[in-house]
């Protein structure tokens, strides 16, 4: 049963899969994400015992049960807060948060935003199926206006929120997007893991039961080249079946151009992961949709700063002496 690196140097996908039957609906996008995660973790050099998955409540949030790592299926919306405490208590473990669009953005929006601004060293995966799956299909904060659901029989009138814009607005320093069946998802997971601080990855996910095809315009293989803009640091933002299209920045607005027709190749914007203004615009781009790392600008992680401050307190005052504490300040003796 031992999995320490001394006794075993490499792990396989199977080492990360628990013995529990996976209970998502047939065809759920969560299966593909689970497979990507289980495939990626062995490559990170972190043993299952050094890995923790924390989740809230929802279909997505069942994730930890399927991982043969430490896992905590907490309560609705609170996973980032639980994970923050865990990371403060136990800095050595690698902590992943798995959450849904309802869990993270509706009830849990506040914890998400504070975790991002504090920059706690967590990898946060938001499975966005634009619906409340587990409670049988009510609209979520990412559902579109007009969406008919059991709670909006005449269509939703709530403006949806953009998870990535919200993350950037909150001060997130690693903001990325992928989708359930994407081959490039493992790559993104690796980047998220490598980033120290809060890494936020929105994963577009299909819920075939309650919101089938919510993302098919974007993820459909046939349209993928047209509808997906994959960002690469330092590379021009190009897409299209023949990479003939590009993104141009004008007046602080992004424009889609056809190279050679509307614009020169040199006018195509080169992706700078540290440009937050462009990242904010990319996050709002609708057609194509931007994938990959939109923004990455590392800063010290909160938990590390806390530990450093605790250590500096010890350095200054020595390891706390309880007797001395009780006797600090004015005392007197009765004989």
């Amino acid at each position: 049963m031992s999995d320490s690196s001394t006794t075993r140097s490499k792990f396989s996908k199977a080492d990360y899969a628990s013995d529990q039957d996976v209970r998502w609906c047939p065809g759920c996008g969560d299966y593909a994400i689970l497979a990507s995660v289980q495939r990626t973790l062995p490559e990170l050099g972190v043993s299952p015992s050094q890995t923790v998955f924390v989740s809230g409540i929802g279909c997505a949030a069942r994730f930890p049960y399927y991982m043969n790592t430490y896992g905590f299926h907490t309560i609705h919306g609170r996973a980032p807060a639980v994970a923050t405490g865990l990371k403060l208590a136990n800095p050595e473990v690698s902590v992943w948060v798995v959450t849904g669009d309802g869990d993270a953005l509706s009830i849990g929006g506040n914890h998400l935003l504070h975790t991002l601004r504090r920059n706690v060293d967590l990898n946060i995966l938001l499975f966005n199926n634009r619906i409340y799956g587990l409670t049988k299909g009510q609209y979520s904060p990412t559902s579109l206006i007009g969406q008919v659901t059991p709670s909006t029989p005449l269509g939703s009138v709530d403006m949806p929120v953009s998870p990535l814009r919200l993350a950037l607005g909150a001060g997130g320093r690693f903001v990325a997007r992928g989708y359930d069946v994407s081959k490039r998802l493992p790559e993104l997971l690796k980047e998220a893991h490598a980033h120290v601080g809060a890494s936020f990855v929105e994963i577009l996910q299909n819920c075939p039961v309650f919101n089938d095809g919510a993302w098919s315009d974007v993820t459909d293989r046939k349209r993928a080249a047209e509808s997906q803009l994959w960002l690469e640091s330092g590379q021009p933002m190009r897409f299209g079946p023949n990479r003939e299209k590009g993104i141009r920045l004008r007046n602080a607005q992004l424009e889609v151009v056809t190279i050679g027709r509307d614009a020169e190749e040199s006018e195509v914007l080169v992706h700078d992961e540290q440009n937050i203004g462009v990242a904010f615009l990319l996050a709002g781009l609708g057609d194509p949709i931007a994938f990959g790392v939109l923004y990455r600008d590392p800063a010290p992680a909160y938990d590390a700063a806390v530990r450093a401050q605790n250590s500096s307190a010890v350095a200054r005052a020595g390891v706390g002496d309880l007797h001395a504490l009780l006797h600090s300040g004015h005392t007197w003796t009765v004989e």
Partner: protein, 622 residues
Amino acid sequence: MEPAATQKDRRAREILDAVVIRFAGDSGDGMQLTGNQFTQSTALMGNDLATFPDFPAEIRAPAGTTYGVSGFQVHFAAHDVRTPGDTPDALVAMNPAALKVHLPDLRQGGLLLLNVGAFTTTNLNKAGYETDPLEDPQLDAYRVLRIDINKLTAAAVKDFGLSAKQAARCKNMWTLGLVFWLYDRNCETTFEFLSQKFRSQPVIAEANIAAVKAGHAFGETAEMPSGIGAYQVPPADLPPGTYRNIQGNDATAWGIVAGARLAGLPVVYGSYPITPASSLLHALAKLKHFDVTTFQAEDEIAACCAAIGASFGGALGVTATSGPGLALKGEALGLAIATELPLVVIDVQRGGPSTGLPTKTEQSDLMMAIWGRNGDAPMPVLAARTPSDCFDVAIEAVRIATRYMTPVMLLTDGYLANGSEPWKLPEVDQLEPFPVRFREDPEGYHPFLRDEKTLARPWVRPGTDGMAHRIGGLEKHHDSGNISYDPSNHLKMSQIRAERVARIANDLPLQKIEVGEEEGTLLVVSWGSTYGAVRQAVRVLAGEGCSIGHTHLRYLNPLPQGLGELLGRFERVIVPEKNQGQLVHHLRAQFSIELESYARPTGAPFRIVELETVFRSRLEPS
């Protein structure tokens, strides 16, 4: 220690057994500081004492208004002291508003020290006086000392080159000097304190010291009106040991640190500021070198969840709040109960419902502490009785949480949190350790295996090799820990959760009589911070030969063994509480016995005489 008063003075001093002084002034007048300095000196002089600060809900309401008045009461004696005192023997009123608010409390014939320099027309108006209270014949009922402290302070510090505003700020120290003289206190601790506090502004320090000295000198030299003398309160006969003065929230914070040491755990303290719990966060934030991490969360839910996450991570998760915050933590506490993680939850109670009376004290969260979660979700509940007792109860909470793998609720209140008393310091190395042993052996492990005796499940630190496991808030099978919706399993798990808490009673001391008779006519049952007043009232009556006894509950859930038997030994039982009768409700449900409630949620602590009167009336044949 050499008292500051001269030989000449001491000859004239009247010896008093006990004194209650209240300092009152504008929020900006520094009354809390003055009170604390008086307390510090008094403690060092060997008196027993208790204090009670009373500040406005507004941070610093406009100067001169009645709702901006801040008070600090100290009760010190040559014998042991249990409460900050019912009615002041002396009132210091720094301005008209302070007089207006506090005069009704001063005992007839009490000493009234008035800063007449502040009795300007503006201030009289702000306080809502239509006629000059200094002219009011009502004052004849007191021994009044009228001094223009403003002017005398200005004179005392004039050589330091302070601005008028800076100079005026010294007037509390001038007053303190005079009060020091009146009660024969030593000024040295205050001199030290001032030098320390203003170490970067030595001129300010010196001016303040000069003010104290001037006030003191004024007492020594000025002619006092008739009826006002100099007093002395000899030291109390306290058990030998080293003492310090301690406020409840500091004691709780230190108790958590001590408990974690005894368990061998680091602390992760998650909290969101709220009156009167915030100073716990402040105290712990200063103790980072004690392996304490403090996390000021975005709200109470996150604070509680982070503490739960920390406990899952192998630290001692602690969270503290007051009533409104506890009302938010209910769902998260259910998670801690369902996942059987240790956690200490502190509720520093204040007046409710809703925002209620944020700076006032109350005991009205008891039922919420016991019941305020969805489902059958039992957790142990403890309560502290005095400021220093917070230390012991906090350690006990850590012990129970880690031994039984359960969240534990610790109730204190605003009165304990801000009140202070001398504390005979325990010998740290004689505290009984209760080291936590994390499970590391994968053999036969599953997360809901139980210790036969305590029913506690094993605690595993994530990162431990080969012990990966998942826990969560869904019901789990008692025998595998896997999710289970099976009816008989749920019944069994519900019963186990109840039984695990119930068994804690086996581990607790038998309930005893605190003071008074072991059986007889009237038993008084109390809990929490009413301890001092109840005990004192019962002691007085028992001293008079009344058939009365007092028992006090530290453990509210589970109730201690022996309590039922004890209740049966008296003809009548009365339960005084600072709420609408919550403990009495809880006890009635447990024991088929008639219990009388004396329910007084007023935001203010009980007075001893009030309780004496109530108990006495229940002792008379009716």
